[in-house]
Symmetry: C2
Subunit: 275 residues, 2 copies
């Protein structure tokens, strides 16, 4: 099954004010992709995501060393590519606002989406093994990110033990998150898969202070189906069924969870027993 990759918009820096919601620090005002140190330090210290991100439990002086190497990227528009499979000079990215997908391309022209990434989540861990990035990361909507070139990160982490430790923590956190994907795909009932996905997204939104019952899906049905290992028609039917049962209120990509308990039951239902 192939996903038609939408045409890429140019990735050139955009100048107008971004629509970030997760952070409320000063806007970048220069066309450069690297803001000056003063602005940056402030951004890490003030960032609403700092507790989820690298700065967590790092003191003021050490935080400056981190600031030295963190680059704040210009916002990426929908379809903008953060990195591609095989690209050298890998970086670690933290999503500040918006959302991305990561995917690999398969021999016959198919793709497999590996994950969706919302604010506070790391992207690019696959690039640290020394062979460049192993997947492609693309924005699902206008998104802003912080970039940490891996080479510098490694250096600074060696000098700042707290950062090293936190880096291990967040890497492990992403590793565990990734493990949820095969758990979901292992379910043989399509309904379970969707329910697991919705609950997981709901929890992640809660983690960044959003209403966990109001899901604003940034991915298309096609992308969601691909991620779930289903076809688009099945996903569409599942949404309709959940809407008919009163579990969800679905309005295009806006999904409201009306009966969290019912959704949980669907997610946990095992494959064999009572279908």
């Amino acid at each position: 099954m192939s996903i038609p990759i939408p045409l890429r918009r140019p990735i050139a820096p955009v100048r107008e004010a971004s629509t970030d919601t997760a952070c409320d620090n000063p806007r970048v005002s220069k066309p450069s992709t690297i803001v000056n140190l003063r602005e940056l330090r402030q951004s890490c210290a003030d960032c609403a995501l700092s507790q989820l991100c690298l700065p967590a439990s790092i003191g003021g002086a050490d935080l400056e060393r981190l600031d030295d190497i963190v680059r704040q990227r210009m916002p990426l528009d929908r379809g903008g590519v953060l990195f591609r499979e095989g690209s050298a000079h890998p970086s670690l990215f933290v999503v500040r606002s918006g959302s991305l997908k990561t995917f690999v391309s398969l021999p016959e022209g198919d793709t497999q989406i590996l994950g969706f990434h919302i604010a506070g989540e790391l992207v690019g861990l696959d690039g640290l093994a020394g062979n460049g990035h192993q997947c492609t990361a693309e924005a699902l909507e206008r998104s802003s990110l912080c970039e940490v070139p891996f080479a510098s990160l490694s250096d600074v982490a060696a000098k700042v033990p707290g950062l090293q430790h936190q880096l291990f923590r967040v890497m492990s956190r992403e590793f565990v998150r990734e493990q949820q994907h095969p758990v979901m795909m292992g379910r043989k009932q399509a309904m379970s898969r969707l329910a697991i996905f919705l609950r997981s997204l709901s929890e992640r939104l809660r983690g960044i202070g959003h209403d966990p019952l109001e899901l604003n899906l940034s991915m298309s049905r096609q992308e969601l189906a691909n991620y779930l290992g289903l076809v688009i028609e099945t996903v569409s039917r599942l949404f309709s069924r959940l809407q008919a049962q009163g579990v969800l209120a679905v309005d295009r990509r806006i999904v409201r969870i009306l009966q969290p308990a019912a959704l949980a039951a669907l997610a946990e239902k095992s494959d064999d027993e009572g279908k």
Copy 2:
């Protein structure tokens, strides 16, 4: 779908000589689970896996600091549990010989196998996020491992930049390996899934110097089916079909790849086109 977890054999240390094949260094001779420093240093330096493992590109003096914290575990028998979901004091493990599976338990009593791990591979990355291990690791056959308590590892990595770097590399390597699981599960044709698995295992065996065409499966059909997101009968039928087509020679758990090209074609066949 539930996997019946086999009865655990006692995990008590066993004294007789182990059957390791990957390493040919001196056998542990004391009932203690920690061998003395002299023996250990030698083991890391001499270990056939050192290039895949943490010592890679670490010099003599630094290697000793690593040796200080690496514990060589008594071999685990089939069914022996390395760690369980939720267990505190997480460690990183490197498989020296044998093989393990990692899995999570699901609400309704089901399980999902997350991966099979052969010599040279890391197990336990899920435990570094600070909430203990998030899955259970169990030996599929008699296996020996090296253990690195994460707390000490973190300390030493802070002092040995080369180790820190190598640690990032191997973590990323395991991260990428893990990403192959959903790629495989995303295929809708059962045959593709099995073919992808067999090829991947074959490649991993090649990486540790084994014959890549002679697969000695250490997991049961049940475990394999669970990993692939299929039922045991389907897996059994697939093996029979591949045998009938002359692609494989299957004798219980010994699988010989007779037509690597045919297997590759099956693995890469996309879901839509031609069947």
